[in-house]
Amino acid sequence: MNRDEWYDLARDLDWTLSYVDEKQAFPDEWTGAGAIPSSAWKDWDEPFRASYREYVRVQREKDAGAYAVKEAFKRARGFDRLDPGHQAAAMLHMGAVAMVEQMAVHMEARFARFAPSPRWRNIAVYGMLDEIRHAQLNLSFSHDLLKQAPQFDWAVKAFHTNEWGILAVRHFLDDTLLGSSCVDSAVVTNLTLEHGFTNMQFVAFAAAAMDAGDVGFSNILSSIQTDEARHAQQGFPTAGILARFDRKRAQDLLDASFWRSLRLFHLLTGPAMDYYTPVHLRKQSFKEFMTEWIVHHHLRVLDDMGLAKPWYWDQFMLSLEHGHHALHLGMWFWRPTLWFNPCAGVSRVEREWLVEKYPGWEDSWGVLWDEIIRNVNAGNMGKAYPETLPALCNLCQLPLGTALDRHHLRPYTTTYGPRLYHFCSEPCQWIFGLDPERYAGHMNVVDRFLAGQIQPMNLEGALEWMGITHDVMGNDAFQYRWAKDYAR
C-alpha cells in the first residue's frame, strides 16, 4: 500500500463538536488561533509525511546504532582525559538542555491536543515521541558519566534549582514550551529556536565534540539532530498561515523569538564556541557561525513569509560582536555560581585568536581581563571574585551590559504599575512592552534577593539557594595556569 493513498484518511479527521462547546474544547489560550479564521487551517499541510509503521522501524534502528556506540565509548571511560574546555562545554550543554527536551515533549503534546488542524495534531505525535528520545538519550549518556564527573547530575538536577543561568533559560522556555499557545509555540520554538538556532548548534557542536575526541557525545548529538531536522519543520505551515492572516502578530512573534533565541545562544553557545572549545579545534567563531547559518536562514524564512527584517537588525549585528564575550566574562567571574568549571579562554594564544576574529576585542574586553590577570598573578584572589550580584534584565534575566559592550552600556527602563523594570537592551524592553502583563509579575534573581528569598544574604546563601554544592561549584578549568603567560 502506498502511504499517499491512505494518508488523508488518517489525517482529515475533524468533526463538528455537538456535546461540548468548541471554544471550551479548544480554548484560545492553548490553541492560539486568535484572528485566524478556522477555515484557514484546512490548508495546513505538514512538510514531511511519516507513517507510524516507518517511524517505529526507523527509530528502532537509529537507537540500536546510537546506543551501541554509546556503550562502546562508555567502556572506554575516557571523558576525564578530554580537554577541560570540551568538558565544560559538555557539562553546560547537558545541564541546560536535557530537561528542555522533556519540556518539548509537553509542547508537542499540547499540539497533539489543542492544535487547530488534525493534520498538525497527528504530526505532533511524532514530535512528542522524538523529544522523549532526545531527553532519554541525553540522560543515558549523562548517567554513564556520573562516576567520572558529578557535574552530569545536573542533567536532571539543574531545572529543579534556582541557578541563575538556568532561571534565564527557564524564563524563556517555561513560557514558550509550557505556557504558550500552539500557534505561538510553533513559531517561537519550531521555526525560530529549533529550526533556526539549535539545528545548526547541534551540527556544529557534534563536529566540535568529535574533533575533541568525544565520540560518544558527538554520536548522540548527531543522532538527535536527525530527528530535529524533521519535526522542526512543523513551524513552517503554521507561520505561513499566521503571516497571511495576521501579519503584525507574525512579525512581532518572529522578531521577539529571534532576539530571545539570540540571548539564549549568547549564554549557551557563544562561550562554548569562542572560549571552551580548544583553540586549535575552532573551525568558526561564534560570530562567523551565526552570520553564515543563523542570519542567512532567518532572513530566508522572513523573505518566504513576506515579512521584514527585525527593526533592531543593526543592534543584532552589533551584538554578534559582543554579547557572548560579555556573558562569558560574567560567567567566568561569577564562576562559583556555575555547576561546572569554565575556561577563561584568554591565554596568549587564545587571545590572539579572539583579537583576529573580533577586532574590537582588546578595547571592549581585553582591558577588563588584564586587571583580572594582574590580580591572579599577584595572588589577590579575593579581587578575582565578585562580592555582589550583577544588575539583571527583567526580560531575558541576563546581566545588564551583556547584550553589547561597556562602551554601549546605558540604562533601559520601563515603569509599569508600581515597579521599575530594567532591560539589557532595547529589544528586550520592546518585548516586555508587547505584552507587559505577561512579564510584569515575574521577579528576577535581584528582585528575589531584595525580597529576602535568599538567606543569608551573602555569597554562601546565594550558592545554597542556587543548589550549588561543593563537588560541582565552578572554578577555573585550568587552575589559572594560563595566567602565567602574562607573569613578569
Partner: protein, 336 residues
Amino acid sequence: MGETRKDAARGRLRTWSALGELGRTPTEYEIVTHAMNHTTTRPLPLEMGPETFGNRYLRRHRDEAAISVPDWNRFRDPDEMTYRKYNRVQDEAETFVDRVLDEYADRRRTDLGHAPEWLDGLEAMLTPQRFAVHGLQMSAAYLAQIAPASYIGNAAAFQTGDELRRVQRLAQRTLQLRLAHPERAFGKKDRERWERDRDWQGARRAIERIFVARDWDEAFVALNLVVKPAFDAVFLAGLSALARRHGDEVDALLLENLLADSQRSARWSRALARFAVDQRPDNRTALRIHLATWRPLGDELIAGGSTLLARFGSVGDDGAVARGALDALAAEAGVG
C-alpha cells in the same frame, strides 16, 4: 544508592541525586524517566509571573487536583516503558500487522469475499472508528502534558502513539475496503456516521466530554478508567470476535493486535490508581467520585456500541461483557 559514604567522601555519584537512597541499582527505565518534570516541585510551576495563564492553569488543574500523594515520582509503570523499549515492542507488533494486511488483504484480496451483511457491518463499525480514535488520541496527549510526573506523562505519551497507530491502521483498512468495494461508502460517509448514527452518539458524547475535563485526575479517570476501556472492549475486543465469526480473519487479527496496546494502557492506569490509593487512602473517595460522574457516559457508549454489534450478528450480551470489564478494571485499581 545515590551514593555510599565512600562515594560521598570522594564526591562521586552512582546515580542521580534525585533518586536518593534507592538501596539498589536503578533500572534503565528509572534513569531516563525520573524527576523529569521541574514544574511540579515548586509553588510556582513556571518561571513566569504567578498570575499568568500557564501558572494559573497548572496550579488549578494539576497541583490542586483532588487526588494528591507525597511524591508522584514514586509511581512506576509496570511495563517500564522507555522510548527504546516502545519502538522495539511496536516495531514487532507492526511487523505482524504488515504481514496480515499485505498478505491477506492485499495479496489474497480477502475483502472481496465478504458477505454484504458483513460489509455493512464494517461500514458501520470499523471505518468510522478513525474519528473516535482521533479523539482518544487527543485526550491521551492531554494527559501527557498535564500529568504531575514524568513517569505518568511518558506513559500517556506512548498511549498517544498507540492511538495514532490505530488510526493509521484503520485508515489503511478503509482504503483497502474502498478499493475492493468502490461502490460502497468506505471512507466517504464515515464522518457522517460518526456525527449522525444514533448508535455512535454514546461514544461521541463520551469522547467529546473528555475534551472539557481539565483537572488531570478527572481526565485520567474519564479516559483511562472509563471511556477508553469501554470503547476498546466494544470496538476492539467485541468487534474482533465478531469479525472472526464472520470469517474476517484480517480484521480479527488486526483488532486483537491493537488490543494489546489497550491492555498496556489498562495496566499502567490500574497501577496508577492503586498507587494513589496506597499512598493516601482518601484518594479512593476522589477517584470514586470521578468514576461516578463518568461511568454513565461509559455505559451509554457501551449500550450504543453493543447495539451496533448485535445488529451485525453478535450473540451473547456484549454490553454486559464490556460493563464487566469496566467493573473489573475499577476493582483491580482499588476503586471499585
